[in-house]
């Protein structure tokens, strides 16, 4: 089981955009350059984040992306669901209904216990992701930063922010 590379890129971009001065924008190309990733691949994920209301898109030659919400109002779960979609990782194919001498439908009214157990585990996973806000990630980075990390971002903003 593998989360797409886009998840890592999306989280990093959202976290970076959370530090942009008000009204500032960064283009997809700039975000791709800063993170050393493919612009076309990143663009898909930025569009997904925008579609989910996490980022705001401003169109046009001076356009770009900014955060559409406060950093304490966006969680890792929001980002993962925006990029990967809402479906659970475990997709029950109801194989219990297959095979010889299948049981009557009445035995399948309640969800398969295997499906239920797998979904409960995913619920715990999503709950943990839902506890981590972008603001928490920013706080952790800041706590460890002697200024070099912030300086590097600021320099990039000066050159690329719209």
């Amino acid at each position: 089981m593998k989360l797409s590379a886009g998840i890592e890129q999306a989280i990093h971009c959202v976290t970076m955009l959370a530090t942009l001065p008000d009204e500032g924008l960064l283009s997809a190309a700039s975000l791709a350059e800063f993170h050393g990733v493919s612009p076309s691949y990143l663009l898909k994920h930025l569009q997904a984040l925008s579609g989910a209301g996490i980022l705001q898109t401003v169109s046009g030659p001076k356009g770009g992306y900014r955060l559409a919400k406060r950093p304490d109002d966006v969680t890792l779960l929001d980002i993962v669901l925006a990029v990967e979609g809402p479906e659970p990782a475990f997709r029950c194919q109801e194989i219990r209904q297959n095979g010889p001498n299948p049981l009557p439908k009445k035995y399948f009214r309640r969800p398969c216990q295997i499906n239920a157990a797998m979904l409960r585990a995913e619920k715990a996973y999503r709950k943990e992701l839902g506890h981590v806000r972008v603001q928490d990630l920013l706080d952790e980075v800041q706590a460890d930063d002697d200024g070099a990390i912030a300086d590097r971002s600021c320099l990039f903003f000066e050159e690329h922010m719209r």
Copy 2:
């Protein structure tokens, strides 16, 4: 993010084998037939379960699979890790080290906070999966069974068990 269809098949097969009478075996072909799935696809996952010590393989024309452990000693986590492998779903590519004006290596000694947060969430997921034993699934099925589910399996064992 999607777990492979093999996970569902593997869990169902392990659960079925947990109800086999002692020393009984079921072949990969029988397990595939009962679950209405592709034998060659299923075989890969049975081999993975055997490699992980969850199933025991008996070779030969009268060979097949049986549980290698007690049903209360096999968890959903064991099965998921056997089939999907041990790697986490989130695979940090260290993109924080990319881009212009990269920071010196000393800033990357500790894991990226994003990676740490994603892995903590997966740990919660795995912890939940680790709580569910095959015996628990059997107990749940039995609790709901008016006998028809057990009868169907028994009939299949009579015809296919080695």
